[in-house]
């Protein structure tokens, strides 16, 4: 690979752990883009949630259902409209926002389906990403953004500052909690509004509430 490669994080479950901390026990949860079901599994075992999942990739869906999780094959961009309003306490979008065609539309659908929405995403304002682009002049390739530009499913990158601006723009949405994580998955700060958060955070996790 020609582009700058950043070594992988050691704690891959750090972000999932932090998302689980934001979910109350016994809640009804929809995990959009649930992958192999690691988060749903964690939430079911430790929080006793009534969990459902939606995943685009059939491999992930089969893995989830084989593990006894309630998961369907579906596309966040097109299939969220089928769910009734207020069907869930939490709708989670973990590391998927940047892969949707219409991130704003997906967020609005999630806020309709659930009172609370948890979104985690890689921060394109992270200093290593900025430096990689600045110094090499090539699109950054990191463990979180591990694709070449021509093959990436991640088509709508944003920074933490971009995301907070979008939340403000949506109106009627409160950021209840946020967690800015460093390269090792440790929480740097819970204040997403600072310049430092947008520079040092490798990923952001936001708990949004519909007012």
């Amino acid at each position: 690979m020609d582009a700058t490669v950043i070594p992988p994080r050691t704690d891959i479950r750090g972000d999932l752990r932090r998302i689980a901390d934001m979910v109350s026990t016994g809640a009804r949860v929809l995990d959009v883009g649930c992958g192999d079901g690691a988060l749903l599994d964690l939430l079911t075992r430790e929080k006793g949630v009534d969990g459902r999942g939606m995943e685009l990739g059939m491999d992930g869906v089969r893995e989830c259902v084989s593990r006894g999780l309630s998961v369907i094959q579906g596309d966040a961009d097109t299939d969220l409209k089928d769910y009734p309003s207020d069907a869930f306490d939490y709708v989670i979008l973990s590391q998927t926002l940047q892969a949707t065609r219409d991130p704003r539309g997906v967020l609005l659908q999630m806020l309709r389906i659930g009172r609370r929405v948890i979104v985690s995403f890689p921060n394109f304002g992270y200093w290593r990403v900025r430096l990689a682009l600045l110094l090499t002049g090539r699109m950054p390739v990191t463990d979180r953004l591990g694709f070449q530009w021509w093959e990436t499913p991640n088509i709508h990158f944003c920074t933490i500052a971009d995301f907070t601006a979008l939340c403000a723009d949506l109106g009627g949405v409160t950021v209840e909690r946020s967690a800015i994580l460093d390269h090792a998955g440790r929480q740097l700060t819970s204040d997403a509004t600072t310049w430092r958060a947008n520079w040092s955070g490798e990923q952001g996790i936001f708990l949004l509430r519909r007012d």
């Binding site: 459902r52 059939m58 089969r62 259902v65 593990r67 006894g68 309630s70 369907i72 094959q73 769910y83």
Partner: protein, 401 residues
């Protein structure tokens, strides 16, 4: 060339198969009160033939009802009494299998209108002393399921842990979940649809016309006449069998290979292996199936339309007391199934999502077409095992020791 006698018999006057004495359980139902039918009228007393596997637990919470497809029967996991072949779903049902008979009490009954022991058109009409033939009332998937509820009542079971089936069996599963949501904990409709499509009705009509065009059919009264519309039924089976496969599977299996010959014969003999195979499928089918039953059961599938009973809104069918159905669903489809394509399963999933029901859905990649649900598809079986075990945990059923 494989061409069994029933098909090649020049007289065509082979007797209808003797389907009278078959092993297994029988239950007479609707004796006190006849069972009402969707088409008006009623049926009773009538017989349901069924098989069971495993043991019903003390609180009767481990019963699994397996629903069979159009030409299936109750011999889901034991040797077929006529063909001698293994049970039609032994890959899925048995000791240690995804539907584990060491753990669950499995029931499989022959549908009413069928010809393997449950009351159907070949049985004697008590009113006339003659076989019903086409005086048998036209039945629906709803009627088949209503008969199953009477059987389950008679077995003393309030709620089935799971109802599972593919194709027409899947239609029954959906009907169970919609009509009796409180009596089903988990529903597994496989390779099925909430309504029979125009294309599927069209194929069924071809099959029925083939039967009725056979001079041996005698307006349905072939038993009285001592004839058997075996040719018509065989053609119906041949046409239907094509719809159970896929272009890719046919090509892989047969290609344009010739049957026991070096060159084409410039005639209408079965030059190609695929022709010989279809002839065999048709000819062997008539040994175990009744032509009038074929008419009645295909009709029941044609009439199936769950949304129609609920103002055309499928989601309404899954609403129970203003809320989403409490039944846990797992749907599965097969990528090369063009008879019940994935889009049909997805339509059911969308309707279930619209009421925020608990639903899982997988599409299995395979080139084996609709028949894949009966075949060796390890991924499918793994998904079934995972879903059923997960549901059993939620239901509080103990894991195997």
């Amino acid at each position: 060339m494989i061409t069994p006698p029933a098909y090649t018999d020049s007289s065509g006057a082979t007797a209808a198969p003797a389907l009278g004495v078959l092993p297994g359980h029988r239950m007479v139902l609707g004796a006190d009160r006849p069972m009402p039918l969707d088409g008006g009228g009623q049926l009773g007393p009538f017989t349901v033939a069924y098989q069971t596997y495993g043991t019903l637990n003390a609180d009767k919470s481990n019963a699994v009802l397996v629903c069979h497809a159009l030409t299936g029967d109750q011999y889901v996991a034991d040797r077929h009494p006529i063909t001698g072949k293994p049970g039609w779903w032994e890959m899925l049902v048995g000791p240690g299998k995804p539907v584990d008979t060491d753990r669950f009490f499995v029931i499989c009954s022959n549908v009413i209108g069928g010809c393997m022991g449950s009351t159907g058109p070949h049985d004697v009409n008590p009113a006339t002393g003659q076989p019903y033939a086409i005086d048998f009332p036209v039945i629906t998937i709803g009627d088949m399921v209503r008969a199953q509820t009477l059987l389950i009542d008679a077995l003393g079971i309030d709620q089935l842990f799971c109802v599972i089936g593919g194709s027409m069996g899947g239609m029954q599963v959906l009907q169970w979940a919609v009509s009796y949501p409180e009596r089903v904990f988990a529903a597994v409709p496989i390779a099925t649809a909430a309504r029979h499509s125009a294309q599927n009705i069209a194929f069924h009509e071809v099959g029925r016309q083939a039967i009725m065009a056979d001079p041996e059919w005698r307006d349905g009264a072939y038993q009285q006449a001592g004839t058997n519309p075996a040719r018509g039924l065989a053609v119906a089976r041949m046409a239907a069998h094509i719809t159970y496969l896929s272009e890719a599977a046919l090509h892989r299996k047969f290609g344009r290979n010739l049957q026991s010959r070096q060159a084409i014969t410039f005639g209408f003999d079965a030059d190609f292996q695929v022709e010989s195979y279809l002839r065999y499928q048709g000819a062997s089918f008539v040994d175990r199936f009744d032509a009038n039953s074929y008419l009645y059961i295909t009709r029941a599938m044609d009439y199936f339309d769950l949304a129609a009973e609920h103002g055309g809104q499928l989601a309404q069918a899954f609403r129970v007391g203003g809320k989403g159905t409490p039944v846990r669903f797992c749907l599965a489809s097969f990528s090369s199934d063009w008879l019940f394509p994935t889009s049909e399963s997805r339509a059911v999933v969308h309707a279930l999502n619209a009421v925020a029901a608990n639903v899982s859905f997988v599409e299995i990649e395979t080139d084996k077409g609709h028949d894949a649900f009966l075949l060796d598809e390890p991924e499918f079986h793994q998904v079934m095992r995972g879903f059923i075990n997960g549901c059993a945990d939620h239901r509080g059923l103990k894991r195997r020791a």
